[in-house]
């Protein structure tokens, strides 16, 4: 058992910046928790407080049921993978992985066994004698992971570990991290601002904004039932269409059923379709202004009724649409999201 429990955790930096404003989270044993949010929202700060690299200004952080607020990083039994890898440049790959174990007085043959095992899993065996600068970015990333797993810690912490890699390698490493975590069953907290990475890796996805948790839950729950406008706009690519609809309605937009008063209507581009399919409650008329073909699907950008709010519609395969064309798109009631424009919260 090694769960992580955050209770009303706050961080005020010297100088008065309140980077984290009371975050409560529960990360179960063996769970992969991903923190995602825009730049500067306090993700790294939160992670570093769990690691013990920043002091906690308020609230408590408990690992494995034990409050660790006042405990040194080395004694928290965590391992961290940094964005720039932070490998010791003057040590060989082997020594990089063995260093933490040596400092803990692990017997030599056990160190050797663990390092060899980690090197085998991560396929860095041929490089054990090399210095980090003689490795490629992806190989360094693996060594950094190796340094974390040889320790067999209670919690893995990752701070944007893949953002220095190219797109293809990023996807490959993402799959490997997921496999590795599944195999080791180690509780993990992973910070990223790549929402695709977040969706695919997470057991629990935590969307943060301005130092607070907007919503936490299973990735598909967040996708299907975003609780706030912020989460709705953040999760999914291209982002959800968000249109403010006044009490009187908008020209070119027909809504059969809607909550009373002004609302923010959310509808994902992939849920708008051109052919009416049964009981559609939403119909929009759009004048296409741009066509973006990515192969498997095509995104149509256009303004509602020619001059209203901008909307995106996804059509499967190759589209024959041309800019200037007027189209009609519909959506079912179950795909619509309504938010209160004042509070930003979901209306059910």
């Amino acid at each position: 058992m090694s769960d992580v429990r955050l209770d009303a955790v706050r961080k005020v930096y010297p100088g008065g910046v309140e980077a984290v404003k009371g975050v409560s989270l529960e990360i179960a044993d063996g769970q992969f928790c991903v923190l995602v949010g825009p730049s500067g929202c306090g993700k790294s700060t939160l992670l570093r407080m769990v690691a013990g690299l920043e002091t906690i200004s308020g609230g408590t952080c408990a690992i494995d049921g034990k409050v660790v607020n006042e405990i040194e990083p080395a004694e928290r039994d965590i391992a961290m993978v940094f964005q720039n890898y932070a490998l010791y440049p003057h040590m060989s790959v082997y020594d990089n992985m063995a260093y933490g174990l040596r400092n803990r007085g692990t017997p030599k043959d056990e160190i050797d066994a663990r390092v060899k095992e980690a090197a085998r899993i991560l396929e860095v065996e041929p490089f054990l004698a090399r210095k980090p600068k003689a490795l490629s970015g992806g190989q360094r990333q693996r060594v950094a992971m190796g340094r974390a797993i040889v320790r067999k810690p209670k919690v893995f912490l990752f701070d944007e570990p893949l953002s220095n890699l190219d797109a293809k390698l990023r996807i490959q490493m993402r799959v490997e991290i997921k496999k590795l975590q599944r195999a080791l069953k180690t509780t993990s907290i992973y910070v990223t601002h790549d929402q695709l990475e977040a969706m695919t890796l997470a057991d629990q996805l935590v969307v943060m904004n301005k130092g607070q948790v907007e919503q936490a839950g299973a990735p598909l729950d967040l996708y299907e039932k975003p609780q706030t406008i912020f989460v709705a706009g953040f999760i999914g690519a291209p982002p959800m269409n968000l249109v403010t609809v006044p009490e009187a309605g908008l020209p070119g937009l027909t809504l059969i059923e809607r909550p009373a008063g002004p609302v923010v209507l959310g509808i994902r581009p992939e849920h708008l379709h051109e052919q009416p399919m049964g009981p559609d409650t939403l119909t929009v008329e759009i004048v296409v202004s741009a066509v973006e073909a990515v192969g498997a699907e095509t995104y149509l950008y256009g303004a509602l009724h020619g001059h209203g709010p901008e909307l995106i519609v996804r059509v499967p395969g190759r589209a024959t649409h041309a800019p200037g064309q007027r189209i009609r798109a519909c959506a079912e009631a179950s795909q619509l999201h309504f938010f209160n424009p004042q509070t930003g919260r979901r209306i059910d």
């Binding site: 013990g52 965590i78 961290m80 940094f82 720039n84 010791y88 003057h90 600068k133």
Partner: protein, 282 residues
């Protein structure tokens, strides 16, 4: 085009060769003088080629010394100079590493004040504070000892600033990774920071070794016994004002010997220098 290229290639080499000749010629003359006997040099007819007395002169210089002026073999002086230069260079590097470490990595009260005090000592070289320093060394009975010779010269703001500048370029994540790996501050210092600074240490060693080796004023004040003389002082003492008494061939041999250790240090450290310039260990 080809002609022009050639001219561009040749010209810098020509300038460099002339420069080298200007610098090297006096050294060559000193070497030649150290291989003739006193009579040949003093009659003003010394040829510009090495003479037959090389072994004899150097043997006398290193193991016997001049009986009249220094009364001490130059071999012993070289040993004294070597001990002094090594103590100063190593001491300066050790103290500067530690103080730069303190200033960069620890938040203690008056940290910036401490830094500025170190910085201000740049304006107080030995020559400026020579009287009080001498008084202290004398009161502590450190005259004619290696401690008195070296300790007052060890504190170094230059090296502290250099290491501070270097430490500030070391990524914070390395400190954090060390913390998570269970390395305390001193372990981080010895396991990570010092190995990373090795090229700066080499550079500092060369500069400070030569600085120590060339010390003149301070050893002149502190040492009175013959067996504590350094080689730089030895040269000065050998050149007696009445020309007839100066054994020029021995003085020149001493001068050549005095040049050797700094040259050896520079040549030996050159590899590390170049390494430090070419590859970035971060």
């Amino acid at each position: 085009m080809v002609e022009r290229r050639r001219l561009i290639d040749v010209l810098p080499h020509l300038v460099l060769l002339i420069g080298i000749a200007i610098v090297a010629f006096p050294v060559y003359v000193a070497f030649v003088a150290s291989t003739w006997d006193a009579a040949t040099i003093s009659n003003g007819q010394m040829p510009l080629r090495p003479g037959p007395h090389f072994l004899e002169n150097y043997y006398r210089t290193i193991f016997i010394g001049t009986s009249s002026s220094t009364r001490e073999p130059v071999g012993n002086m070289m040993l004294n100079s070597l001990i002094m230069a090594l103590c100063i260079a190593i001491g300066k590097i050790a103290i500067s590493l530690i103080s730069a470490f303190a200033v960069v990595y620890f938040r203690f009260p008056f940290r910036m004040a401490a830094f500025w005090v170190i910085f201000m000592t740049l304006m107080l070289p030995v020559e400026v504070r020579i009287f009080p320093t001498y008084k202290i060394v004398a009161d502590l009975n450190m005259l004619d000892t290696f401690a008195g010779l070296t300790i007052p010269l060890i504190a170094s703001a230059t090296a502290t600033l250099l290491f501070r500048q270097f430490f500030m370029t070391v990524p914070d994540e390395l400190v954090e990774a060390s913390k998570i790996d269970g390395a305390g501050p001193m372990k981080f210092f010895f396991d990570t920071l010092v190995p990373l600074s090795i090229t700066s240490v080499a550079a500092m060693f060369v500069v400070q070794f030569i600085y120590g080796w060339n010390q003149y004023l301070w050893p002149l004040l502190i040492t009175t016994k013959d067996n504590m003389q350094t080689i730089v002082i030895g040269i000065k003492k050998m050149i007696v004002t009445q020309d007839a008494l100066t054994e020029w061939q021995l003085a020149m041999a001493t001068a050549i010997l005095a040049m050797l250790p700094p040259v050896i240090v520079v040549v030996a450290m050159q590899k590390l220098f170049v390494k430090g310039l070419v590859e970035t260990e971060k």
